[in-house]
Each structure stands twice: as structure tokens, then as C-alpha cells.
């Protein structure tokens, strides 16, 4: 179906792809694996005509192609869900899905009725009924946006569908359904290239997989022909055991560091109470979009609080803005490092020092020497991989970017660290480093609130896990009760009856 040979692409001095080969059969689901920065997305962009390779040839169904732009790729039946969402926030769901090939009628006028019908068909194919076709994409949760993105690709009725971390924000049930559909498409001859950092998904759904490392092709094997450890070794070039650091022991008697009572905000946080002690990691779990993001942003003062109180070390804290939060020792590692965590065009050095700049000089000026020393020590402490601190943050890989976001906060004297899914889209090696960092914080007596979409992380890192449902805490699990099954059950049992509950439970079994 698709064969790419000898593809090279470099950006300035960075060789993203070096004579890489990739091939994918007709009617197969093929995983593309690799650590952050291995060149996966670059290959995807080349296959979809967004970027042009410096060298190499691409053939689709035997025909050599040379895409001048994305339009050409679409014309050849390639549809892609890109890693960076390419949606239009202020257009409706329906318009987004059919952008560029809307059904038209008289005088080229877009036919709203046919558009609605086509969207209805697509939604039915995945059993989606909770998204309104007329809703603005800006109003959707991240997972729903990712669904829209997938529908957008599907609407092209592709011969080759590429999902570049297109499921990273999806809950398990959605992924299950998606793959049910993909299998159907596969039967019709469609090929799928699937990129994900979640090993479980790959194991479960794909036929074959190809591993990239540093822009090179390493191996292509059948899905079950290699063990997890072997795959990780292929990705990283070394063995890495995925293991969680030992949890700090927190005494029940210790006074709470952070106490939250009845916190409500916006339309999706409806009253949450929780406590965090020093040395403790409190996990936040739940299906996507149950108010977890709003909880963290409200605690950090970025969202306006409608009700509730926050106490830190027993004293009431008025936190209405992020600078007040910072002053009270709260740090936030936000959801999207590219748009919320970092100023991508600015240097590594500048990004690391935003939150501590006042300390690195006098009279409003920055002392270059002090700043350099500080940055060097932080880069060392977090093992940030960057050729120089003068490089723009944009040029770093995802994991290293995430380290910059954390570095920014480590020396602000913060006691409470709020993490929003910090390891999303990060490779195994870097994930491991993050686990160690979080454990390190608890050893220093900090308190951590960790929201993660990966249940295994919550199990491995947290002393307690609060499962959220519909803007409230449905259940708090502790100690041995923190298991995959319990978390899933808590996510589903409480709250509104969900029409799709049966499907998911069935799938989970």
C-alpha cells in the first residue's frame, strides 16, 4: 500500500529523519513506535504532504508520488490526524469535520442538510452521541476534540489513515470503539498507521509495528513477536525497566498541607473537597472531562472560583490569581506544555527562569551570571538534553520541554505541585525520569496533586487517588484499594447513569 524509502529530513542542524524506510500493507493496522524526537511526526508530515523530504521516495499503491502540499496527499487517499490538533475552534463540529469538502448544492452553496446527515452517519459509525454537531469546537473537551479530529480524517474515506498520537486524550472506551471501527475499515482494505506511547493500546490493537530511533528505522515486527522490554530496548537502544519509585510514608497524624473544601468553578467543577499532606501524592482519576482540569486551574487561581475555601498549612489562602498562588507556594504543570507551559520561541534559559527571575538580579535587572549558573544547575538536576541553553524551547523534544516546565517551578519555594497529565506524549525513558522527580518532591516534604490519564501511574505513584465524576469526587481510594478495577469502577458506578456503561464494562472484561 505505502512504501517510503530512504526518507531524510533535517531542520537546521537537527536530523529528524535519516534515510528512514517505512512500509505498510494494504488492510493492516501498523504501529509506528519511537521515543520522543525519533522522527515519527516528521514522517507523518511528509506522508501527508505537509512537509517535503530532503531525500527519498514515496510510493502509494505502487505509484510513486511527490506531494506538493496536503491537498495532493488527500487526493491520493491519505488522511491524517496530526499530533498538534488542526481544528478550527470557532467553527462548529460539523464544519470542522467536513472542512474543505463540504457537500455543496446550487451555486456552490454549502448544503447544511446534507452536511448534518453526513455528520450523523459518521457519529453513528463510532456510536458517538454526546457531541452536538452544532457545538463550537472551542467548547469541547480535549478528548472530544480528538474525536472530531478523527472524524475529520474518516470523513475523507481514506485509503491510508494516519493517527499521530490521535488517541492520547481518549478514554479507554473510546479507543476500544475506535479500533472496532478501524478493524471494519481494515476489512475494507484501508491501512492505518498508528502512533501512540501507550504500550497497552499497541499490544491490543495493531497487526505489526515499526520502531524508529533517532530518525532511523530499527525494526519492523509482528505485534506479538516482541516483549515490552524488547520493544523499549529497540526504542531507546538500552534496557529500561519501567518501575515506580517507592512511595514516601505519610503519617495520618500529620497536619494537612493543602485543604480544599467545597471548591466549585465554571460549569464543570461542582464542589470538591480534598486534603494533601506533606510527602503525599494525591492522584486524580476519572473519565475525561469530569472537571479535573478545572480543579487544578482553579486551585492555581487561573480560573475564577465560584465557591469553596482553600487552606495551606492550616491558614486560609485567598488564591484568585496565579501570582497569588505562586506566592502561597503552589506550582502548576499545565496540560499543554506548548501553549501553556512554555514560550516556545524563547530560549531554554529564559523559559526556565520566568518564575524566579526576581531572585536572579537586583533593581528589576537580571544578572546574566547568576542566571546562567541557575539554569546550568537546573538543567543538570533535571538532566535536560539541549545542546545549549540559548536554543529556543521549540527545538527540544517533548519530554525535555516538559522538564523545562517543571524546572521553572522547582526553585520557587513551592510546597504544592499540581501536575496535569505530565507524561502525556512522553517516551518511556523520560517518563521514568518524571516518576523519580515526583518521588523526589515528596521526599523533600512537598505535596503533589497528580492528574493522569494513565491509571498505572496513579497506582504506582499515589498514596491516595480521588476519582472524579461530573465535577465531584466520587470516591477516594487508599493504599491497596488503588487498583485498575477499583478506579474504573469508581469512575463508572457513581453519578449519572451512562447509556454506554454496558459497552465499556463489557470491553474491559
Amino acid at each position: 500500500m505505502l512504501s517510503a524509502r530512504g526518507i531524510s529530513k533535517s531542520f537546521g542542524g537537527v536530523h529528524a529523519l535519516q534515510a528512514a524506510n517505512f512500509a505498510c500493507e494494504r488492510g493492516e493496522i501498523h504501529a509506528l513506535l519511537g521515543a520522543n524526537g525519533a522522527g515519527k511526526s516528521t514522517l507523518v508530515k511528509i506522508l501527508s504532504g505537509v512537509q517535503r523530504p530532503d531525500a527519498g521516495t514515496i510510493a502509494i499503491a505502487g505509484e510513486t508520488v511527490d506531494f506538493a502540499g496536503p491537498t495532493d496527499a488527500v487526493a491520493h487517499g491519505v488522511a491524517t490526524v496530526f499530533q498538534e490538533l488542526s481544528l478550527f475552534p470557532h467553527r462548529t463540529v460539523a464544519e470542522n469535520i467536513f472542512i474543505g469538502h463540504e457537500p455543496t448544492g446550487f451555486l456552490g452553496q454549502i448544503s447544511q442538510s446534507r452536511l448534518r446527515a453526513a455528520v450523523g452517519d459518521l457519529f453513528a459509525s463510532l456510536g458517538v452521541d454526546h457531541i452536538r454537531p452544532n457545538a463550537l469546537v472551542a467548547d469541547l473537551s480535549l478528548s472530544d476534540r480528538q474525536l472530531v479530529e478523527i472524524f475529520k480524517a474518516l470523513s475523507r474515506k481514506p485509503r491510508l489513515l494516519i493517527l499521530d498520537e490521535g488517541t492520547s486524550a481518549l478514554g479507554r472506551k473510546e479507543v476500544q470503539r475506535l479500533f472496532a471501527l478501524l478493524r471494519k475499515l481494515r476489512a475494507g482494505g484501508t491501512s492505518v498507521i498508528f502512533i501512540s506511547h501507550r504500550m497497552s493500546e499497541i499490544r491490543e490493537f495493531v497487526d505489526r509495528m515499526t520502531v524508529f530511533r533517532n530518525g532511523h528505522h530499527v525494526a519492523t515486527v509482528a505485534a506479538n513477536a516482541a516483549s515490552d522490554a524488547e520493544i523499549v530496548e529497540m526504542m531507546l537502544g538500552q534496557r529500561v525497566e519501567r518501575s515506580f519509585p517507592t512511595k514516601t510514608v505519610v503519617s495520618e497524624a500529620e497536619a494537612p498541607l493543602l485543604e480544599v473544601a467545597g471548591l466549585a468553578a465554571g460549569s464543570d467543577l461542582k464542589g470538591v473537597s480534598l486534603t494533601v499532606r506533606r510527602g503525599e501524592v494525591l492522584g486524580i482519576a476519572g473519565l475525561e472531562g469530569q472537571g479535573q482540569g478545572t480543579l487544578l486551574l482553579t486551585l492555581f487561581g487561573a480560573y475564577r472560583r465560584a465557591a469553596g475555601t482553600v487552606r495551606i498549612d492550616g491558614a486560609p489562602a485567598r488564591i484568585g490569581t496565579p501570582w497569588q498562588a505562586k506566592a502561597r507556594g503552589i506550582a502548576l504543570i499545565p496540560e499543554d506544555r506548548k501553549t501553556e507551559g512554555l514560550v516556545l520561541p524563547m530560549s531554554v534559559r529564559e523559559n526556565i527562569t520566568f518564575s524566579v527571575l526576581a531572585r536572579l538580579g537586583r533593581f528589576g535587572f537580571v544578572s546574566p551570571a547568576k542566571e546562567r549558573r541557575f539554569v546550568e544547575s537546573m538543567m543538570q538536576r533535571l538532566a535536560v538534553k539541549a545542546a545549549s541553553m540559548g536554543l529556543p524551547a521549540r527545538s527540544l523534544s517533548g519530554g525535555n520541554q516538559q522538564k523545562l516546565v517543571l524546572a521553572k517551578w522547582l526553585e520557587t519555594g513551592a510546597d504544592v505541585f499540581l501536575f496535569y497529565d505530565p507524561t502525556r506524549g512522553i517516551d518511556v525513558g523520560t517518563k521514568q525520569a518524571f516518576y523519580e522527580l515526583i518521588a523526589g518532591l515528596t521526599r523533600e516534604g512537598k505535596g503533589v496533586v497528580l492528574y493522569s490519564t494513565e491509571t498505572s501511574e496513579l497506582i504506582g505513584l499515589c498514596q491516595r487517588v480521588a476519582v472524579m465524576d461530573d465535577g465531584r469526587i466520587a470516591e477516594t481510594l487508599e493504599g491497596d484499594a488503588i487498583t485498575e478495577e477499583n478506579i474504573l469502577a469508581a469512575s463508572l458506578r457513581m453519578g449519572r447513569a451512562r447509556p454506554d456503561e454496558a459497552v465499556v464494562v463489557e470491553a474491559a472484561q
Binding site: 508530515k45 505537509v50 512537509q51 492555581f300 487561573a302 490569581t321 496565579p322 501570582w323 498562588a325 505562586k326 506566592a327 502548576l332 499545565p334 501553549t339 501553556e340 507551559g341 512554555l342 514560550v343 516556545l344 520561541p345 524563547m346 529564559e350 520566568f354 518564575s355 527571575l357 526576581a358 538580579g361 528589576g364 535587572f365 537580571v366 546574566p368 545542546a387 545549549s388 540559548g390 536554543l391 521553572k408 520557587t412
Partner: protein, 321 residues
């Protein structure tokens, strides 16, 4: 300094078009001198620097504001109003310090209002500062009843604008001092750092626990105060204040900032480039004026040259390239 840091600096220098704009400035000067050798005379250099000072000082503020991704269209009547206020107060017997102080106070207040509109009410400065300009125009007319005061100007204002020390005009020295301060502030201060961050990605700065509203206040107040300073210098230069004295100072300083390689959407650039931009604009106007083409031709040539310059070095990168 390690070589990689040096390389990074050189890289940044050329990337933002600063080097190119200086290169162009040199080319323009050479062309001008070949066209008319008198361009190289000390008298002409003084005259050009004198005129460049007004634009250059306003362009300081405009650079700061543009770096945040905004623009200040309230300069013309802000400049006029504060200058007239200064001249009136001085004429009424208040001391020079009081008169100049009052003008600067007006600048600060106008800057604050501009900043509040942008930072608190989140209105685009293109419209907000335009409204402010109209408001100030009205206030000027009401305050003066349409007749600016007699032109006794404080002596030191005249000295700053047209005086000489050791055969060198004072005004360009004033400009140089402000320019140096601006460059250092942008490169080395916390405010400068946050200014670039605001222009690039305000939410990220906000989520770093920094109040970006302060950045807007700083930028707009600086811009407004620069407009007032330019007005004061202009008053000294013309030995009088008059209605409409700010009319020439809306678009030209902005053109200087753009030609100097600062990104109009914010986040990139700096005052080093603006200095070249200012000199290019002034020189260009002077050449066009000496070349005796009519106003229509002048407009066309000026527009074409801006486009040509920007095509040379300020083209945007596409997000996916």
C-alpha cells in the same frame, strides 16, 4: 563567551533582520551621497539626526508596545495635548519643572488608560487607542478653545531640542541616552523579558505566575511618556506649540519599527533595529523630498520601498515549515 553562544547571538541578530536593516541603511547612505554629496556634510547629518530624534523617541515606546503585540495610535494628540499643557502652564508663570512635570503626568495617565483598556478590558489597542486619540483631540480643543498659548518655552526645553554642546547637537544625544536605556532594559531587565514573553505567549506567562497586566502598563505608559517627551522636544524645536503638531507622528514611527525588523504581531525584535529603521525612514523622506517628485510619486515610492525592504528580511515563517 563560548562560540555557540556567540553563534546564537549572531544568528538572532541576522534572523530578526537587524543586520539587514543596518546593511540597508549603509546602502541608502551611500546612494544618497552619490546622488548628492552634500548629504555627507556635517550640517546635513545634524539636520537629519535632529529630525530623527522625534521619530526615534516615539519609536521607543512604539517598539515596546509592538513587542507586546499591540499598537499605540494615541500618540498624535497625546503629544499635542501634553505639549500645549506644558506651554500654557509655563506661560501662566508656573515653573518649568511644574510645567514639564504636568505634561509627563498627562502622559502617564494616558498610558495607564490605554493599558487598562488592553489589559483589563481586553480590547484591541488598534481600536482602543484610536478612541483615546479622538478623546484627547477633543480635550485639547476644549482646553485651548482652539488657540494654543503664546510661545514662551522653558530655556532648558529649547536647549534639549536645539542646543549644542561642543559643536554637537543636544537632541540626538538625548535620543542616544534614551536609546541606550531602552536597549539595556529590553535585553537585561525583568520587564524586558516579560515583554517578549507577553508578545509571544501571554497565557504561558500568566501560568508562570506573572501578572502580564503589569507588562502592558509598562509598555503603554512608556509609549505615552515617549510621546510626551517627543512633544516637548518638538516644542523646543519649533519654539511653539500648535494644534496638529502630532499629525506627522502616527504612522512614520510605526514604519520605523517595522523596517527595523520588529514583528508587528509581537515577541520579536528590539530597539537596535528600530534605530536603523528610524534613520532609514528619515533618510528616505529626505531623499524623496530632495529628488523633487510630487506627492503622488512620493507616496508610491515610499510604499513600494517599505514592501521591498520587508520582502527582503521580515517575511513570516509558516507554522508548519
Amino acid at each position: 563567551m563560548t562560540t555557540s553562544r556567540l553563534a546564537a547571538r549572531v544568528g538572532a541578530f541576522t534572523k530578526h533582520g537587524v543586520a539587514v536593516s543596518y546593511g540597508l541603511l549603509v546602502v541608502l547612505i551611500v546612494a544618497a551621497v552619490i546622488y548628492n554629496p552634500a548629504f555627507a556634510s556635517w550640517g546635513n547629518i545634524q539636520a537629519q539626526l535632529q529630525i530623527a530624534t522625534f521619530i526615534g523617541v516615539i519609536a521607543i515606546g512604539q517598539t515596546l508596545v509592538i513587542l507586546t503585540g499591540q499598537i499605540d495610535l494615541s500618540v498624535p494628540w497625546n503629544l499635542t495635548f501634553s505639549s500645549i499643557l506644558m506651554a500654557t502652564l509655563y506661560g501662566q508663570g508656573y515653573g518649568a519643572v511644574t510645567a514639564v512635570g504636568a505634561a509627563l503626568l498627562v502622559g502617564i495617565v494616558v498610558g495607564l488608560i490605554n493599558a487598562v483598556g488592553v489589559a483589563v478590558f481586553r480590547l484591541h489597542s488598534l481600536v482602543w487607542t484610536l478612541g483615546m486619540n479622538a478623546l484627547l483631540e477633543g480635550l485639547t480643543m476644549v482646553y485651548t478653545n482652539g488657540q494654543p498659548p503664546d510661545s514662551t518655552i522653558p530655556g532648558f526645553v529649547r536647549f534639549l531640542a536645539v542646543g549644542h554642546v561642543g559643536g554637537f547637537p543636544v537632541a540626538p544625544i538625548v535620543w542616544a541616552v534614551f536609546a541606550a536605556i531602552t536597549i539595556v532594559v529590553l535585553a537585561r531587565s525583568r520587564f524586558g523579558r516579560f515583554l517578549y514573553a507577553t508578545g509571544n505567549n501571554e497565557p504561558a506567562l500568566f501560568l508562570s505566575g506573572i501578572d502580564s497586566r503589569i507588562v502592558y502598563v509598562g509598555a503603554f505608559v512608556a509609549s505615552s511618556v515617549c510621546a510626551v517627551l517627543a512633544g516637548i522636544l518638538l516644542t523646543g524645536y519649533a519654539s511653539q506649540t500648535y494644534l496638529g503638531m502630532g499629525n506627522d507622528y502616527l504612522l512614520v514611527p510605526i514604519a520605523a519599527v517595522i523596517i527595523g525588523g520588529t514583528n508587528i504581531m509581537g515577541g520579536f525584535g528590539g530597539y537596535v533595529g528600530t534605530i536603523a529603521g528610524t534613520l532609514i525612514v528619515v533618510l528616505l523622506q529626505s531623499i524623496l523630498s530632495v529628488a523633487q517628485i510630487g506627492q503622488a510619486g512620493k507616496n508610491i515610492v515610499f510604499g513600494v520601498i517599505i514592501i521591498a525592504l520587508v520582502l527582503l528580511y521580515a517575511r513570516e515563517a509558516r507554522p508548519t515549515d
